[in-house]
């Protein structure tokens, strides 16, 4: 219906990939041997997807990925359930890597600087140029972000061949935790946390599902820990200690809003209370110096809250405390992380919920190393600077002097595949391949080896070359033979060299790794020491000093959407409502309502934020989840040269920060300065999707139930009674349909009228259950849905107008949130999708049957039949229908981003209504495969909608609710089950929610 993918192009691709399949037995052309996950390569059939397993290269967590390819194009990435780290989940950023693959701002080929402009050259020319410059200038410095172990080894060999140095640099890193672990236990590597095993989880400003070492795994752990109904599991409690609630913090059961920088004092005060006066060990003296009173004074919260927390930390064990993450890296961050490790130690958590060692072994990134490198560059000691996988010109504050120093380097080389601030300065750009086009490996944790394989031929618009191949070629030009012609051979050789006969034949292991995405080697995970050592570095555990004389402390945190800014050029990420603020596209300054009121600021007022290091103008967003003495800004905005979607959007929070390295870890300090906030007098509309400032107005939308009340729900419900409603029923008022607690036998509900096109039959009735006790609001499902269903992005102006196209809207309601004192926290997340009502208000009002009920209970939308009266959207009480106000799919999506489109889903055009379809294409695909291959009915659990597939928390279950043995039936038969607004307007939704469970009594009108 739209001309987004032109029919001719489609046929061309079809023909090429078909020919590829017959000639080479491989749909991906010149890449080597690809082993698809489900179907052998000879069986690539047009119209049938081929899946490959690989490793996500989006961040250092290295989650496992399945990639769905159609006719030689990657169209969707999903979590790999067999991967030991991510176990099937995938975050929003993981999905957005697909937009990096098809990013129209990628370089068309190697770029060579001529004067002020860049010209496209050939690879041979570029390689010879680099080799020549290395030969003449010498002094090579390689600045690299996270990369797989084999590529990292190759870089080292390359550098040793040319006599260069190497600097590891990532915009965000866990260096303080790593350093604290080294100081405390003598182990170089991050500890691993078993969040799922904890009963009481403390986060000292650690936003472990936003960012950090492994957001997906930690998210899964958190959901498991806090789930009330996991088998043989008691609901765990999560306490957040920090000045600002991230999306991680919003999931806490209690919030102790401690002053920024007081984590160490609080952790030590607690540890001291636990250890008592007879503390032993190398830190006994330190503990003597702290107590709960000093902690309370430092944190600005009541002493009692800290003392009782300390008591519970032992009594409610197994417990787990996590030290400050990137958003709380202040000048004493290592000390704070060490204090938290000590707290874990005195509570006996080490070896139980905390394992020392065994985390990712990627090289540690330190800002202090970068400072040294900047010094070397500025001093002219660097002849050739090579930057790979990182963007220091953006992610370092101007105060660091990187740009000026980098400019001094005679020959600057960038491996950026698309323009960024660093590449813009480079003399030679060697566009690297996307990880979905290239070979690699990863070691996400000790003993696990995952292979990253290309899933498709490199996107033909861009003449790119894998960094490994390039280094081999340049080495060869320089006369150093590194033992392989291609990086594929090098990689395979490296793995073969490590292979021991105990693991079986190498070929089998290799193929298994390709097929499943990851293999666990027999090598035992190095569970290092668990006994504390005496510190070998001088540390201060006090609240650090902050720069400037402003009255507000500035918190700069990695964005859950953009990370440190790497994902800013993805329109999916730009348009994904921030999980906390629900704002899209632009930057905002988070400010407590009391603070704003005192200054006469309203939401949307543009303020000038001034620190001693810089100033930015940014609109205010009023947020009750931040202390009154702090304001917060996310990273990732304010790009100056990073492609069409990132450039000019928002502000760069780093402009306000000093170029300070934390001692002794050398980490970049994000929590460093105070600021002054002054109104500019200008106001703007925020591009938010939140229409009620987080207030659900006491409506039965996202209710919760207290843990103590579970099991007594029946009586309570009877009490409530709907007296007035029942009175009205005698006069024809609505009769709420008894759904027997969601029992499958209750479906289809009486009174259901499906209209003339849905003849009743004995088939399935598709339904969904969403457990709000598990949902963390991370928004991975939103992006997964965009990718699966060809949902377009609309741009900032359209979002401001209220025209965002999300099929999944994660509603965030504050029920209880108090930034002034320690106490219960109650914030509800509700993923709102089409409810597929049995009694759908949208269906009778459509004049042309564009929306109607299928016999399977799905509320279908026939795009081609839609005239665009928008009556259905008006009459939808859930407001889940979105409209194509313009040709978004055509005008917003440049070539080759449209290659990502799912060929199984219609690309909608101007003037058409759309909404969640329960991933109808996946239902049909599963049904067809079941029928064709084995002539059977589809099995329970075989159909997995995109949102469910992606959900790290496993909060979503889909299936046939008419089958009493299906998982969805089992989940729905729960006293917590409710359907949004159903008792009020009798819509009989097919989406069943399970109430969030709180520890405290639920206040307000809703149970």
């Amino acid at each position: 219906m739209t001309d987004g993918i032109k029919r001719r192009e489609f046929l061309k691709v079809l023909g090429v990939s078909g020919a590829g399949a017959t000639m080479t037995g491989c749909g991906a052309g010149d890449v080597e041997r690809l082993i698809p996950y489900v179907v052998a390569p000879e069986e690539i059939t047009p119209g049938v997807a081929t899946w490959y397993a690989t490793t996500c290269g989006g961040c250092s967590a290295q989650c496992g990925m399945w990639v769905r390819t159609r006719e030689g194009r990657a169209v969707k990435v999903e979590g790999n359930p067999d991967h030991p780290v991510s176990e099937g989940g995938l975050c929003s950023r993981g999905h957005a890597t697909l937009q990096h693959l098809y990013n129209p701002d990628r370089f068309a080929g190697p770029m060579i600087r001529e004067g002020t402009r860049l010209r496209q050259g050939t690879w041979d020319e570029a390689e010879r140029l680099l080799a020549a410059r290395i030969g003449t200038l010498g002094n090579v410095m390689f600045v690299g972000g996270h990369m797989g172990p084999t590529l990292s080894g190759l870089v080292d060999r390359f550098l040793s061949g040319v006599g260069g140095t190497r600097v590891a640099y990532d915009a965000v890193s866990d260096a303080p935790l790593r350093e604290a672990t080294r100081i405390a236990y003598g182990v170089d590597g991050l500890p691993t946390y078993d969040i799922g095993a904890a009963k009481l989880l403390l986060s000292f400003g650690n936003d472990f599902i936003d960012s950090g070492a492994s957001p997906v795994a930690h998210n899964k752990g958190l959901a498991h820990m806090s789930a009330v109904d996991a088998e043989g599991h008691e609901k765990g409690r999560f306490v957040y200690l920090g000045a600002r609630l991230s999306v991680t913090g919003l999931n806490a059961d209690e919030w102790i809003p401690i002053r920024p920088g007081s984590e160490a004092a609080v952790a030590l005060g607690m540890a001291s209370a636990i250890a008592g006066p007879n503390a032993t060990g190398p830190y006994a003296n330190l503990l003597q110096a702290y107590n709960t009173e000093s902690a309370a004074a430092a944190a600005g919260v009541s002493e009692e809250s800290i003392r009782t927390l300390a008591e519970r930390f032992v009594s409610e064990g197994p417990s787990l405390a996590m030290g400050p993450g990137v958003g709380a890296h202040h000048r004493n961050a290592t000390a704070a992380n060490l204090a938290v490790l000590i707290l874990n130690d005195v509570a006996g958590n080490v070896g139980r919920t905390v394992t020392i060692g065994g985390g990712p072994t990627a090289s540690a990134s330190k800002f202090s190393d970068m400072t040294a490198a900047i010094g070397a560059m500025a001093a002219g000691r660097v002849g050739v600077a090579i930057v790979h996988g990182t963007n220091p010109a953006y992610s370092l504050p101007a105060a660091s002097g990187f740009q000026a120093a980098f400019d001094e380097v005679p020959f600057k080389v960038s491996f950026a595949s698309a323009m960024d601030e660093t590449a813009a300065m480079a003399d030679l750009i060697l566009p690297d391949r996307h990880f979905l086009e290239s070979w690699g490996d990863s070691m996400p944790k000790a003993g696990v080896m995952a292979i990253q394989q290309p899933v498709m031929q490199a996107v033909p618009h861009f003449d790119s070359k894998q960094a490994g191949d390039l280094l081999l070629a340049v080495s060869a030009h320089l006369g150093n033979d590194l033992g392989a012609a291609t990086f594929y051979e090098y990689l395979r050789g490296a793995h073969q060299a490590q292979h021991t006969t105990a693991m079986g034949p190498f070929e089998e292991t290799w193929r298994a790794a390709l097929r499943t995405g990851a293999v666990s080697h027999a090598m035992a995970a190095t569970t290092g020491a668990s006994v504390l050592r005496a510190p070998d570095a001088a540390l201060t555990f006090d609240v650090p000093a902050f720069d400037g004389d402003g009255d507000l402390t500035l918190m700069v945190y990695p964005s859950p959407r953009f990370g440190g800014g790497e994902f800013s050029n993805s329109p999916w990420m730009q348009e994904l409502p921030d999980p906390v603020s629900k704002i899209t596209w632009h930057s905002w300054l988070e400010m407590n309502p009391t603070t704003a009121e005192a200054r006469g600021l309203r939401e949307g007022d543009i303020v000038t934020v001034t620190s001693p290091h810089g100033a930015v103008d940014v609109p205010v967003w009023i947020y009750p989840g931040i202390r009154e003495d702090a304001v917060a800004l996310a990273m990732g905005g304010g790009h100056t040269d990073m492609g069409r979607w990132a450039t000019g959007n928002g502000v760069n929070a780093l402009d306000l920060l000093p170029a300070t390295a934390e001692q002794p870890s050398g980490a970049f300090v994000t929590l460093a300065t105070t600021v002054n906030v002054v109104s500019t007098g200008v106001r703007r509309r925020l591009a938010t999707i939140d229409g009620s400032e987080g207030d659900q107005h006491d409506r039965p939308i996202a209710p919760a139930v207290a843990l103590a009340d579970l099991g007594h729900e029946e009586e309570e419900h009877a009490d409530e009674g709907h007296g007035e409603l029942m009175e009205l029923q005698g006069f024809g008022g609505i009769k709420p349909v008894p759904a027997e607690g969601g029992a499958p036998s209750a479906f289809p509900l009486p009174g259901t009228d499906h209209g003339p096109y849905a003849v009743a039959h004995e088939g399935p009735r598709w339904a969904m259950a969403i457990d709000l006790d598990k949902c963390t609001g991370c928004s991975a499902c939103v992006t997964a849905c965009h990718a699966e269903n060809n949902v377009p992005w609309v741009g900032e102006q359209q979002v401001i107008m209220g025209r965002d196209m999300n099929w999944v809207r994660i509603e965030r309601y504050y029920e209880h949130i108090d930034a002034t004192q320690a106490g219960d926290l109650d914030v509800r997340f509700l993923p709102m999708i089409c409810q597929h009502c049995g009694n759908a208000p949208c269906e009778p009002v459509c004049p042309v049957f564009a929306t109607y009920h299928t016999p399977e209970g799905v509320n279908a939308q026939v795009y081609n039949r839609c005239v665009g009266t928008r009556y259905c959207a008006n009459n939808c009480p859930y407001k889940v229908r979105v409209f194509n106000w313009y040709r978004y799919t055509d005008e917003n999506v440049p070539e080759p981003m449209n290659w990502q489109w799912n060929p199984d889903v219609t690309v909608r055009t101007n003037g058409v209504m759309e909404k969640c379809s329960f991933c109808m294409q996946r239902i049909r695909e599963s049904e067809n495969r079941a029928a064709l291959e084995e002539g059977r009915d589809v099995r329970d659990g075989e159909i997995v909608p995109a949102c469910q597939q992606s959900c790290p928390a496993e909060a979503i279950v889909f299936g046939n609710i008419r089958d009493p043995n299906s998982r969805v039936s089992e989940v729905v038969a729960n006293e917590r089950t409710y359907r949004v607004l159903d008792e009020l307007i009798n819509t009989q939704p097919a989406v069943n929610y399970l109430k969030k469970v709180t520890f405290h009594e639920v206040s307000g009108g809703h149970e």
Partner: protein, 461 residues
């Protein structure tokens, strides 16, 4: 026709003594137009240009050039649609219902009112087309046989709308046309050239014979009887567009009578707004007297009270229902983002017409004109309040949003008045705007002693 109206309807016009005075005064309107007419007509044509340009732009770019958004999927377009359908009501009311009830004061105004009806429906009918996302598929709402056996959804109030509006247009157009035939014949007898040819065709060979008058009278009564239920049904159906939904603020049983009363209210006000300048410009003071305006003002006052009662009962029932979401919707209507629109509605439709209780006001043409403008504004805002304030503040607080009409929408709104004005101005030039033959019925019959009573061989009786 209209037997027996003479006693009750006999109006004394100081300047009109003879039947051919009527011909003279009314038909002179059709003579060469003055500067004023040309200026107004020029404005109207320019406005139609604006209307078509804005609409064309919207078709080219997409409905996104409007300010519509989620959750407010209907806005100025539907507001204006309902407004024009409402305007269309009083025409049929005045000509059909008042005819059947033998209300004598209708004779001077019904022609203009009927013309207004037809043109208002022509304007209203465009708005559903303007508002749909895919205009080129809008014909799918019409039931027509097709190879795929696809029919419209007869459960949908929008399909009822299609029937209601097209039926109303057909009947009111026929009724209007039929009533003009004897007058057009009178104009034909005086016209020359192209105009004569035009009138000859559309007067259907009217000669004014007894038999013709007999048939005309019968047909007129039948059509009046046919049109009468439509006055009530069309706006009831339009109101069901809202009442059949589950949107708080729309879902109310009171909607049909409430909308019908509102339609008559706005329609009568529009008749006043249109005839006051008409009377002035064409010197028809003798035919449109304070007696007529007094009667229309009373009708306005009466319907205003019904409408205001409906407002109050809506607010009362929202409170009395105890239903929080309903209460919230009406609280928001009064004090929420769009409070100003609600208060414009209440003041213009509820409070300003209170002045009509005073005879002095009812007999002051300028005062009536001003009040009628207030009512027109108030009735537009009534529909805006119903459409927009209900939608923007529905069940899901997280999805609440604020709608701001765009320049394109306001251009089309303005353009629709020009489109209407374009036809109305043409009407005043082409069709006698006051019913000659009915007016004559209320004049004293010609006396034989005046020798020239039957002079000129003119076709009128």
């Amino acid at each position: 026709m209209a037997v027996g109206t003479q006693e009750r309807g006999a109006l004394t016009h100081p300047d009109v003594h003879r039947l051919d005075d009527v011909n003279r005064d009314v038909l002179k309107v059709l003579a060469t137009p003055g500067k004023g007419w040309w200026m107004l007509f020029g404005l109207a044509v320019a406005g139609v240009g604006l209307f078509l340009t804005a609409w064309g732009w919207q078709i080219y770019k997409g409905i996104g050039v409007s300010g519509l958004m989620s959750p407010v999927g209907w806005g100025v377009y539907i507001t204006t649609f309902v407004f024009w359908v409402g305007i269309a009501h009083s025409g049929t009311l005045i000509s059909a219902i008042l005819f059947l009830f033998r209300a004598p004061w209708r004779q001077s105004i019904y022609r203009a009112a009927e013309a207004m009806t037809v043109f208002a429906v022509m304007t209203a009918g465009l708005f559903p087309l303007i508002h749909v996302g895919r205009l080129w598929h809008a014909y799918w709402l019409i039931p027509y046989p097709n190879s795929r056996f696809l029919w419209p959804n007869f459960k949908s109030p929008l399909v009822w709308d299609v029937f209601a509006v097209t039926t109303y247009f057909t009947v009111s157009a026929v009724f209007f046309y039929l009533g003009t035939v004897p007058d057009v014949a009178a104009a034909r007898d005086r016209a020359v050239g192209l105009r004569k040819k035009f009138y000859t065709v559309i007067s259907l060979g009217w000669q004014g014979t007894d038999q013709q008058w007999h048939h005309f009278g019968k047909a007129y009564v039948f059509l009046a009887a046919l049109a009468t239920p439509l006055v009530l049904s069309v706006h009831s159906v339009v109101s069901w567009d809202f009442a059949m939904s589950i949107v708080p603020g729309w879902h109310a049983t009171i909607f049909a009578p409430y909308f019908v009363a509102g339609a008559i209210f706005s329609g009568v006000a529009m008749v006043i707004t249109l005839t006051v300048p008409l009377r002035k410009i064409f010197g028809l003071e003798a035919y449109l007297t304070t007696k007529h305006y007094d009667a229309m003002a009373k009708l306005c006052l009466f319907t205003s009270m019904i409408v205001f009662y409906a407002y109050l009962s809506e607010f009362f029932l929202a409170w009395y229902s105890g239903e929080e979401i309903e209460r919230s919707a009406f609280w928001n209507r009064l004090f929420g983002t769009y409070w100003w629109a609600t208060w414009i509605m209440l003041v213009c439709n509820g409070f300003v017409p209170i002045m009509l209780w005073f005879k002095r006001v009812r007999h002051s043409i300028p005062a009536l004109f001003v009040i009628s403008i207030f009512v027109n504004i108030g009735m537009w805002f009534e529909r805006y309040v119903i459409v927009v304030t209900s939608l923007h503040h529905e069940y899901m607080p997280f999805a609440w949003g604020i709608y701001r009409p765009s320049v394109t929408e306001m251009s089309i709104l303005l353009g629709s008045f020009c489109w209407f004005g374009f036809w109305f101005l043409l009407f005043t030039r082409l069709i006698p705007p006051i019913a000659i033959q009915e007016l004559k019925e209320v004049l004293p019959p010609p006396m034989r002693k005046k020798a020239k009573a039957h002079d000129g061989g003119e076709a009128h009786a």
